[in-house]
Each structure stands twice: as C-alpha cells, then as structure tokens.
C-alpha cells in the first residue's frame, strides 16, 4: 500500500480504485459476497459482523447498494467470468432470499459462468429453526451448497460459544439442509474450554457420521478484541494445553481420513471431488473479487505477475454511504502486490493444501525465480526432518508439519 492511499484510508476516505486498464480485464473469478449482519455476536468471532435490527438489514436499501457495487466492479473487469459464488458473513442466512436471488442473477449477467456446468454457489447458514425455514427459498434463489455453523454437538459447549441454537435444533436444521441441498458442509470447533481429546474424538466421529460430503474442523483461536480474549486474559478460559490441542489436531485428521473425508486443507475435510471450489481459489491464489462491507479481493494486474489487494470499508453504514456518494467500490485499502510478494502469498496459502505447491508452476505464473522467495536448503532440511514432502515437483506439508505450518513458513520463506 502506498502512503497516499494509506493516508486516505486513515482519514476514512475511500482509497482510489485503480485507473481503468490497470487490472487484467478477463479473470476467472471467485465472487465473494459479504453480508455483515448477525442477530448476536459470538464471543470468539472477530469477523466483520454487526448486530442490527431487522429493519436496518432489510432488502431496501441494501439491494441497491450491492447491485451498484457490482456494477462498479463490472466496469473494472469487463470481460471476467464467474467460477464460484460464496455468501459469507456475518450471517448470510439472514439475507432476504430475493436479495440473494438478485445478486446471483446480476453476477451471472455481468460475468457469465466460466463453463456450461452449474457453478458452485455457497451460502453460510446458522442452524437455528428460523433460518432452517428459509433454506428452501434460498435453494430457489440459486444457492446450491450450504455451510452450516453447527460448531459443537454438545449443548453446554454451544452455550459457552454463545451460539443461539441447541444440538437438537442444529441437527434438525441439518436434516432440512440435506433435504434441499446435495452439497452441505458442517463447521465444528475443537480445543474448546474444558475439552479433552477423547471427548473431541467422540464428537467429531459423530459429526463425520452425519453424512455430509464436507466438514470443517477448526481449532478455537483466541482472537484479539473478542470477548474470549478478555476472558482469556483474566484466566477465565480453561483452554486445553498445547499437547492436548496438538492431539486434537491429529485426531481430527486421522478420524476424517478414516471416514473417507481426508484433509485437503489444514482445517477442511471432504470426499475427494467434493472440496469447496470457492475456497480453493484462495488457497491456489486465483483471482477473487469481494462485494459488500469489509470484503477483500485480490485481482491480477494487466502486467504479468502484478497483483492488487483490495479491502472495502468495514462498517456497513459507512460502506453504504460511500456507495451512495458515487464511490461504489467503497474501498478502504488498495495494495499493489509485486510479483515476489504475490509468489510469497501464493506459497503461504498453497502450503495449507494437501496438494501443496509446484514451485516451477509458481515461477511460470509470476515470471520470477522461486529462489528469491523460497529457501530451498531450509526446505530440504525440513523435508529430511519429516515436516515437508518434496515429490513430483511439489512441496507439501507432511506428518507433524501440518501442526507446525506457520513456523515452517517462517523458516522457508525469504
């Protein structure tokens, strides 16, 4: 990010969008739509989510804003095509289904699907009875994959996590989701306060038996600025120690693989072929565009190897005000990313995948020598120690390397 742009965002002024022609005109896009509202803020969540009344988050005027923003991005990317769409949040299952429908249709108008097969359109949903009742409408609006934030199969744990649903309610919502959608993901959180590896193994096994093609199993992370961070500082959260947390990570991987959903990413498990194509775009460093308050995007520049990172204004009302006042991209930050940095990002994200990265492919894509960003000597050391596997031209994490990826990256990235 240049100083001028940073200064702009500090004063709350939207950063200038790139001059037309700066961006590659015809990327294949993963389109992310951010709906920033929640009924309730969970104590562990540091996402860009805001609690607003039903009236404040109704169809009007948000529909207009989302469509205006899309139109503005269409002008930046006149020849792009859509690979996937993902509604995230916040709680997108609170979105008026007609707004979901409008947004999907507009996206596909401006950026036609990349091929004839139906594209993946995912929406994140909370498994409450209210939201479950809308699943049919969302299906009708064009959504074909849902990601359910089940989080735990233990009522006491759900209460600690501040969730607004019970296990029974969650399972009922899952049944409803499975009735309408062939593709369902379940989110679960492990390493919760008081949780033992044994208890988690039982819970995770139960989740794996629920029949979804895809599961996410996240380790609970204490993020700064959350209610959990405060409790943690006050020593009021009895979190599992490092050994227990490491054991849970390993169990999560082992049990999922045994159940036919091997890890394809650090925290994501799927039947082969049922991976989330949208999320793969992030990890494979493919172009994506973000619509909505606080949404990020990452797009290739017109010259090879150059990329741009974007972040929209976070607060919904400020974002809306910017869109209304003739700055429909409503950007808070624009960050030019040089080829070396882009390659570093690609490596950082790509090593989260079981498929790993192919350095020679990265070199081709970014037009740079990988030696400038990867310490291959160190990588070989780590491969010898069993943390990485280097085979068939690809580097990927192996064994305990999956538990130590951040450290490994710090070691091998220049």
């Amino acid at each position: 990010m240049t100083t001028v742009e940073r200064a702009g965002s500090r004063q709350g002024l939207p950063a200038a969008p790139p001059v037309p022609g700066t961006l590659k005109a015809d990327p294949v896009l993963a389109v992310y739509v951010h709906w920033p509202f929640c009924l309730h803020k969970c104590p562990y969540c540091d996402f860009n989510s805001h609690v607003r009344s039903a009236a404040e988050r109704g169809h009007d005027p948000w529909s207009e804003h989302y469509l205006a923003s899309l139109a503005a991005w269409a002008r930046q990317l006149p020849a792009a095509r859509t690979a996937t769409i993902f509604f995230g949040g916040g709680t997108p299952s609170l979105m008026p289904p007609e707004l979901v429908s409008q947004v999907i249709m507009r996206i596909l108008e401006i950026w036609p699907p990349v091929d004839d097969a139906p594209i993946e359109i995912t929406l994140e949903a909370n498994p409450t009875s209210v939201e479950a009742a809308r699943l049919a409408d969302l299906r009708a609006a064009g959504v074909n994959r849902v990601s359910l934030g089940l989080q735990a199969l233990d009522d006491a744990a759900l209460a600690v996590l501040g969730r607004q649903h019970s296990v029974a309610e969650g399972l009922a919502a899952l049944e409803e989701a499975q009735r309408h959608f062939a593709r369902v993901n379940l989110d679960l959180i492990h390493s919760r306060p008081g949780q033992t590896p044994e208890a988690w193994a039982a819970e995770w096994s139960r989740a794996l038996a629920l029949g979804t093609e895809h599961l996410s199993g996240y380790q609970l992370t204490i993020e700064p600025g959350t209610r959990f961070a405060t409790l943690h500082r006050m020593h009021r959260l009895d979190l599992p120690d490092e050994t227990a947390a490491a054991d849970m990570l390993l169990l999560t991987r082992q049990l999922a693989a045994a159940a036919g959903r091997p890890a394809y990413e650090v925290s994501n498990f799927a039947r082969p072929g049922a991976e989330c194509r949208h999320n793969l775009a992030y990890w494979r460093h493919q172009p994506w565009v973000g619509i909505g308050p606080g949404a990020h995007g990452r797009l290739p520049g017109a010259s090879p190897g150059e990329w741009y990172g974007f972040a929209a204004i976070r607060r919904p009302e400020e974002w809306a005000a910017a869109v209304r006042s003739g700055k429909p991209l409503a950007l808070a930050e624009v960050e030019p990313v040089d080829p070396d940095q882009a390659m570093r990002d690609a490596l950082m994200m790509g090593l989260r995948l079981a498929e790993g990265v192919d350095p020679s492919e990265l070199a081709r894509r970014f037009g740079r020598n990988t030696d400038t960003v990867i310490d291959f000597v160190r990588a070989r050391d780590l491969a010898e120690a069993g943390y990485l596997r280097v085979a068939q031209g690809r580097i990927r994490p192996a064994g305990d390397g999956w538990l130590l990826l951040d450290r490994i990256l710090a070691e091998i990235l220049r």
Partner: protein
C-alpha cells in the same frame, strides 16, 4: 592569582545517595556560582546517565568565591567525587589535589561501606576531614547515634560534626565556615619553577583536550610553553581558566589553585593523569609522585547485534574513549558472534555504564559476553600469561597452575540479614577476616575471589539483604585456584561466547543455573534442543527445550492474506534479533540475561 592563605581546596566524599551532589548544589548556590536560572539539580553531574541514576561518574571541580562571616572573600575549590568503588581512582586523584575533605554521612542511614573506603583514602592522602551529617530534616535522622557510629566504626572524632540539611539549606553556611577555619591552606612557592599536577583530562568538541590541573609551585599562564614530564611532550598554553562551574578564563593560576588549561593537545591519550606539568624553559627537577595507573579489572566481549554495525561500534568505542581513558578495547573474533571487541573495565558498574552509553548515545544494540577477570596462567615452560578471555586459555596440559585475583570486601549489613550475607560469602569461597558490630549493624570484612563477585554477587547481596547491605572492595592479591573452563553446548555445539572460567567447586552450581536460564530464554524450535554445561568432555548440567508441537493458523481464507503476511513478517523480524548457532536461534537477550542471574 589568589593569595595562597585565602585558598581552600576540598573534596566531598560520601556513600551513594547520602546527598553529596545536593550539598554541592547548595554550596554553589550560596557562593552564587550560578544564577537562579542556571541552577538545576545535580549541576555537576553533566552526563545524562549520571543524572538519571543519581550517581557521579566523573569527578568535577568548581571554584567558589565565598564571602565569609569575617567579611573576607575566600576562594574555595570544590571537588565532587564519584561514590562507587569502580571509580575510586577518580576519588584518589581528586583527593591528591586537595588538603581536606567533607565526609557526608546520611544522618538516618549511618556509615556505609563506601563511607569507610572513602575515608581511608582521604586519610591516606593526609587529609583533614570534616564530618557532616546530612538529611537532619528527616524524621528518621539520628545524628547522635550516627556520630557515635563514626567514632566507633571509623575512629574519627565526630564531636564537632556539622548537622545540615542540603535539601532545606539548614547548616550549609556552617559548612563553608568550617572549611575556611578547619582546613589547612595549601602550601606552595610562587617563585619556584612551575610544578602542577595533571588531575584529569577530557575531550571537548570545541576546545580539544581540556586538562584539569592543580598548581603546586610557580604558575601557569597563557602563552607559556609547558612540558609534560612523563611524556616529554611540549605545548604552548592557549588558555587558562577556572570552573565556576562554567568555564571562565583567568590570567594565570598560582600555587594552591585548581583550574584548567588548553594547549592544542589532540587526544586524551596524549595526557597522562598524574603527570607533572612544568615550564619548558625553567623546568623543575623533581616530578610529583603521581598516581598509580588504573587497570582494567573486568573484561567482556561486546559484539554488534547487527553484524553490519561493526564499524559503527568501533567508531563509537573510540569516541567514548576520548573522554574515558579508563576503559580499553581491542578487536576480538568469536566463532559464534562474529567480529566485535574485547573491552576492559574498572568494574561491573563501569561496564554497565559504557554499555548503556553505547546504546543510548550511539544507538547500538549489543551482545555482551560473560564478564571475566584477569587470570595469571603459569605454563609448564615457566612463562606466565595474563588471560581475560576463556577462549584464549591454553591447552590444559601446558598449564602448571592458574592464579586468580582476590579482593578484600567490606560489607555493612543490618543484624537481621547477617546470616544470609555470611552464607552468600561462604558460598562464593569467601574467607572471613573480621566481623564487628556498630549498633545494630554488622561490619564484615571478607576476602573473596573477584571471579565470584563479577558474576551476580551485587544482585544476590541486594536480594538477600533486601537492599540494606552496602558493599565496597579493593583489590588484594593473586592466589592459585582450581579453575576450570566451563563450556556451554547448545544442541551439541559449543558456544564460545558463553564459556566461562569457574572454580571447580562452583562449576556445577553455575552450570545448572546457566542452562536453566538459557532454557527459559531460548524459544522452542521444530526440534528439541539439549543445553549442556561441560568441563572438558564431562557434562555437569543439562536441560532440554522440548520441540514446538503446534503452530498453525486454524482459519485462513481470502481476507486473511495480508494479516497472515504481517504475522510472518513479524516472526521474521523477531528472528533478526537472534543469532543462529547451528540450527538454533538464540535471542540476544539470552547472552545478557544469562549473566545476570537473580535467585537460584
């Protein structure tokens, strides 16, 4: 030139914090050496670090004009001296330039270790001593008890000690009167060939080297050609002056006077403290006795944390030395730390101060290796080598014996902590020479190997006495000791910068402490790291840093790229503050903190 009978030269000696600098401020104020506007606290402590720590490092001198109660005007030359043992050489110089001393004792604290050391130095210099009890305004002040203590412990008549409060100003005039009536005037012959003592010298960016002098016979004036008797070098005097404490030029300095000269001298190293200055055309025949040269007592390696700062460090050391000839340095190469310097200091406080000044005034981040004393190694071929770097130790088969320096330490401590202090001294191989009482305080005299003191003795002494013990020492002699070189191995590799010479009986204790401390300071790695202390091939202590088990971001999607990258950059910046030993990254702090070990 002032009439010699109207001159009084005096030093102020005191234990740290007994109010020496504050009293000096008062004396200056009364004699109007500085206007109200120029006055600030501790005017004589000009270094930032002196003000901050409330200590005096460089001796300072001020010429005061005092209009006495008898209506006459007297010239009083005040020399403020450092209180800390490391700078006792500064004290001895100042004392040599004066005929008397004010002995300041805190009326609530009583006699402390440095009070004693300073008094003995003053008596050695044949000084008349005026005891002054300071801080009598404090509710806890017990002047009568402290007077008895001065008589009992020091053996000095305290019946006419002056009670003052430098803070409120009470009794300060009485001090000035006592100086003119109780201290002798200097002796000297204005007609004799010039003979002046070179008391100190320092570098001034505008004037070059400034030389502080005390004239004994004859005089010094502008244009005069002088000769330094030790070096034979001749200079023409550019300027003669006194400190008020501002520099003020005068026509000449006569017998008994203290002042400065500048003479186009390029470097402090060209002047020898204690040298005799005489007239080149009409030289005196006999030089003054001079001083014993200072010797470095403690050595350590200083390495730039960033190897690119080596030149900067060299230049900075050279600049510091311009003003502090008492520390020395020479290039050193360490397998672990790269290029740096081996530096010699007067003591641990001196080491700390130099290090602090390098950090503050020159912006250098440093890695400091274990401090070492100077050992005399007798080789089997009959030669003797002086060694202050464990890395230079010859092959053990060539060593006949090793001698180490011993000190005589004086410790004053309240009764209730005596047991703990005795235990500490015994643990450190101390030999008790004396144990006496003065009221509820015990005065201990111990012989201790300096090696055991440079390590963490001060910290431990403070800790076991809750800060109430005071400590002072002087070098005693060299004695044979069963010393061994203890090596520290990190992940099986010896780290030269952490190796130390220790007494065999202390090796295990120190080794255990050191590896334990290192275990706390070195972050976990992807593999487990053994940390060992060894003597020769024998491991005497071992700790293991377990391998890191888990370090991975759970959720990482599109919006997290920048955040994650920043996290990585932070991690890498952290790595820059470490030194790699084989595959292990050791933080710079580990070197410093490993040397400063508090409670075991």
């Amino acid at each position: 030139m002032t009439e010699i009978s109207r001159i009084r030269n005096f030093a102020i000696i005191a234990h740290i914090d007994h109010g020496k600098s504050t009293l000096a401020d008062r004396l200056i104020q009364i004699c109007e050496g500085l206007s109200e506007r120029e006055m600030r606290e501790q005017v004589l402590d000009s270094m930032e670090i002196e003000r901050e720590r409330g200590i005096t490092i460089k001796a300072q001198t001020v010429r005061l004009e005092y209009r006495a109660r008898d209506g006459e005007t007297w010239v009083l030359n005040l020399m403020d001296t450092p209180g800390h043992v490391d700078f006792s050489y500064e004290v001895s110089r100042s004392l040599a330039a004066c005929e008397g001393s004010l002995l300041i004792v805190d009326a609530s604290q009583g006699v402390e270790a440095q009070t004693l050391a300073n008094v003995y130095q003053a008596l050695e210099a044949d000084h008349e001593i005026i005891p002054v009890l300071n801080k009598i305004d404090l509710p806890a002040a017990e002047p009568e008890r402290v007077k008895r203590q001065i008589e009992d412990v020091i053996g000095l008549d305290a019946s006419d000690a002056i009670c003052v409060s430098a803070k409120t100003g009470e009794g300060v005039e009485d001090v000035l009167e006592a100086i003119i009536h109780r201290l002798p005037p200097p002796a000297g012959d204005a007609a004799a060939p010039t003979r002046a003592l070179l008391v100190d010298s320092w570098y001034d960016a505008y004037l070059g080297v400034i030389v502080l002098v005390r004239v004994i016979d004859g005089r010094l004036k502008k244009g005069q050609t002088i000769r330094m008797m030790a070096t034979g070098a001749e200079y023409e005097i550019d300027e003669v002056g006194v400190f008020t404490p501002k520099k003020m030029p005068v026509a000449s300095l006569g017998p008994g006077e203290i002042g400065f000269i500048t003479a186009g001298i390029k470097e402090v190293a060209d002047t020898r403290v204690g040298d005799t200055i005489t007239d080149a055309r009409r030289p005196c025949t006999k030089p003054l006795p001079g001083f014993r040269p200072t010797r470095s007592v403690v050595f350590c390696g200083l390495f730039p944390a960033d190897a690119a700062d080596y030149e900067h460090l060299r230049e900075s050391l050279a600049k510091l030395r311009l003003n502090d000839a008492s520390f020395e340095f020479e290039p050193e190469t360490s397998a672990a730390l790269g290029f740096g310097f081996r530096c010699g200091f007067l003591g641990m406080l001196h080491l700390e101060i130099v290090q602090e000044r390098l950090r503050r005034e020159f912006g250098l981040e440093l890695i400091t290796t274990s401090p070492s004393v100077v050992y005399r190694v007798h080789l089997t071929d009959g030669t003797v080598k002086e060694i202050h770097n464990p890395a230079d130790m010859p092959d053990p088969v060539r060593i006949a014996k090793i001698e180490e320096p011993w000190i005589e330490a004086t410790i004053l401590v309240p009764d209730e902590f005596l047991g703990a202090v005795l235990k500490l001294c015994e643990e450190r191989r101390g030999i008790q020479k004396d144990l006496t009482y003065a009221g509820s305080r015990a005065m201990l005299v111990y012989e201790l190997p300096l090696n055991e003191v440079v390590y963490d003795f001060y910290d431990r002494l403070k800790s076991v006495s809750r800060g109430y013990a005071s400590f002072d020492y002087q070098m005693a002699d060299y004695r044979e000791g069963d010393l061994v070189r203890m090596t520290i191995l990190i992940n099986g590799e010896p780290v030269d910068a952490l190796s130390v010479l220790v007494h065999r009986s202390q090796a295990e204790r120190r080794g255990r402490m050191l590896v334990k401390r290192l275990k706390e300071l070195i972050p976990r790695h992807l593999f487990k790291i053994p940390i060992q202390a060894a003597i020769g091939g024998k491991i005497i202590a071992r700790e293991t840093i377990p391998a890191l088990r888990k370090d991975v971001t759970a959720k990482c999607y599109g919006g997290d790229v920048s955040r994650k990258r920043k996290l990585l950059e932070k991690q890498k910046a952290g790595k820059k503050r470490m030194r790699a030993f084989g595959k292990v990254d050791v933080p710079h702090d580990a070197f410093i903190a490993a040397l400063k070990m508090g409670d075991e």
